[in-house]
């Protein structure tokens, strides 16, 4: 990490200003405003279909921003892709696919390696280190599909870590993940936070969100709140975001009751 005293003011990892995002004519998400700085972890909270994935895709430059702006690392989303990594949900991937864990993590180095060239020894070392960061070094030679769901999710995180991103985007990473893997994921994320990586995690698990993130962004087709978790994950704002869905309060833990 660069020495803070010697560098000019750090560019925000993410700056969204009254953004509206649309697939076709009608925007599916509007009024999103907020900033994410290096080392901050922001949880995107909202019910299914709220637009969490849409926002992530907009940050990746895969979906058009039809109103307002989305600025990633001081550039347009497309221009910033080199420094942004994405972790999709592991359960959409084919478990029969003939690839090893190590090969999957190495994929994170492809962009850096570039077209026409093959990954070198340095790339393999970086990939191995990334795999170690999620605690799966000993499974490097295993076929990806033979790992548990949670382990596969950790491998995908390792792939993203191998990219050495400044901004990391995770799409529902804790879905159906066992406790051991959950711990490993949280540990790796904390490590990244310490290193100064900005992280955006979409999740509907409020407990986990409170555990790992310091900021929260409430979404349900529009933004209902953006700020430190304590100030944002309040019963009122949550009720507003989730509409009429029942909420339960357990001490300082807020849980959305799933029907």
């Amino acid at each position: 990490m660069a020495d803070p005293a010697a560098t000019p003011p750090v560019v925000e990892a993410l700056h969204i200003d009254h953004a509206a995002i649309a697939y076709d004519a009608e925007p599916v998400l509007t009024g999103v405003t907020g900033r994410v700085h290096a080392g901050e972890v922001v949880a995107l909270i909202g019910p299914n279909g709220a637009g969490k994935s849409t926002l992530i895709k907009a940050v990746l430059g895969l979906v058009p921003v039809v109103g307002g702006t989305v600025t990633v690392l001081g550039r347009t989303p497309a221009a910033a892709r080199r420094d942004v990594a994405y972790v999709p949900q592991a359960d959409i991937l084919d478990p029969q696919f003939p690839v090893s864990v190590a090969q999957v993590v190495l994929m994170g180095r492809y962009r850096e390696v570039g077209w026409l060239r093959r990954p070198g020894r340095d790339d393999r070392r970086i990939a191995a280190e990334a795999l170690a960061q999620v605690g799966l070094a000993e499974r490097a030679r295993a076929t990806f599909g033979t790992l548990s769901g949670g382990q596969r999710q950790r491998v995908l995180l390792a792939r993203a870590i191998a990219q050495r991103p400044r901004l990391l985007l995770l799409d529902e990473p804790f879905n159906g993940v066992d406790l051991v893997s959950q711990d490993a994921l949280l540990g790796a994320l904390r490590g990244l936070k310490r290193q100064g990586t900005a992280v955006l995690i979409s999740t509907h698990d409020l407990a986990l969100a409170q555990h790992v993130s310091d900021h929260a962004c409430l979404l349900n087709r529009r933004m209902f709140g953006f700020g430190p978790t304590g100030a944002t994950l309040t019963p009122d704002l949550l009720r507003a975001t989730y509409g009429n869905q029942a909420l339960e309060l357990h001490g300082d833990q807020i849980v959305v009751a799933h029907h």
Binding site: L60, Y86, P88, F97, P98, V99, Y110, P119, T143, R159
Partner: protein, 291 residues
């Protein structure tokens, strides 16, 4: 054994047929792995049908010499249209394919009906002419094989990523449609190249069975590909030898291309069987150990 496995290939026309098949084994074996990982079996099959109007048009325009360019053009058009159609989120692969297939085949039928006949030159594209393959055709196949194999090798890692995780590939900034177009064109080229020797009707076997057999043996891309190529080459060699021996010694008519494909399928089935037996023995051993 020597009479069957070695003698036939001392004859020039058999040696040429074998060379063509070995080239195709290398080409189709590699492309087959991509067909496997991207599940392009249906696409490949569709292309063997959509070349039909291209063949007819080529023949109508330029006689026999027009057949190959016509097939190439049709295959390329299929590849492009397919890529464009599936790029639009609303249309899924299967739907796009069915539409394309029906449309192009109908065009072919209309064209053929306008003439009272279609000749041996057209049917040879459907069924292949293995034994009369010329040195020129072999050179053509070699060029196509070289082109396709080098391209696929250069794009190997990107194609792997796209096949495994298209979302991540898109997120990294790769243009999925461009990678798909390259692969669709590669498949199209193999269809046209192989059609001349084994015919479009049997090409699908060459594009599907090698990697399928490799998949029975391994769960890594490299071994699957190597196994696929080996299986395709072995089947080409054995199929030709069998068809020659049957014809010359027993007066039995076993079409060359079809015999190769049957051998290919036989190797696949034997591998499947052997795998099943091995697993049965293994579990027996395990349960014995436990008992």
């Amino acid at each position: 054994m020597h009479a069957t496995l070695v003698e036939p290939f001392a004859v020039p026309f058999m040696a040429r047929a074998l060379t063509e098949l070995l080239l195709l084994a290398g080409l189709a074996g590699v492309v087959s792995t991509h067909v496997l990982t991207r599940r392009l079996g249906f696409v490949a099959d569709a292309m063997t049908h959509t070349v039909f109007p291209g063949i007819v048009l080529g023949f109508l325009t330029a006689g026999v010499d027009g057949v190959l360019p016509g097939a190439l053009a049709a295959a390329a058009v299929t590849a492009v249209l397919l890529t464009l159609l599936t790029r639009s989120r609303r249309v899924t692969d299967d739907t796009a394919l069915a539409v394309l297939l029906a449309a192009m085949f109908a065009v072919g039928v209309v064209l053929v009906s306008r003439r009272a006949s279609y000749t041996a030159d057209l049917t040879s594209f459907l069924f292949g002419r293995l034994l009369t393959v010329t040195t020129g055709q072999i050179a053509q196949t070699a060029v196509v094989a070289g082109l396709v194999l080098i391209t696929l090798a250069l794009l190997h890692k990107e194609l792997l990523l796209r096949a495994f995780d298209p979302q991540a590939a898109a997120a990294m900034g790769y243009r999925i449609w461009l990678l798909d177009l390259v692969l669709n064109l590669a498949v199209a080229l193999v269809v046209v190249a192989a059609a001349q020797s084994v015919g479009t009707i049997l090409v699908i076997a060459l594009l599907v069975v090698p990697a399928a057999t490799g998949r029975l043996i391994s769960d890594r891309i490299a071994p699957i590909t190597l196994a696929g190529v080996a299986v395709a080459a072995l089947s080409g060699y054995l199929g030709l030898a069998i068809s020659y021996r049957a014809s010359v010694s027993h007066g039995l008519r076993l079409a060359g291309g079809a015999t190769v494909v049957l051998t290919l399928v036989a190797v696949y089935l034997l591998t499947l069987l052997a795998g099943g037996l091995a697993r049965a023995v293994q579990s027996r051993r395990t349960s014995d150990a436990v008992a």
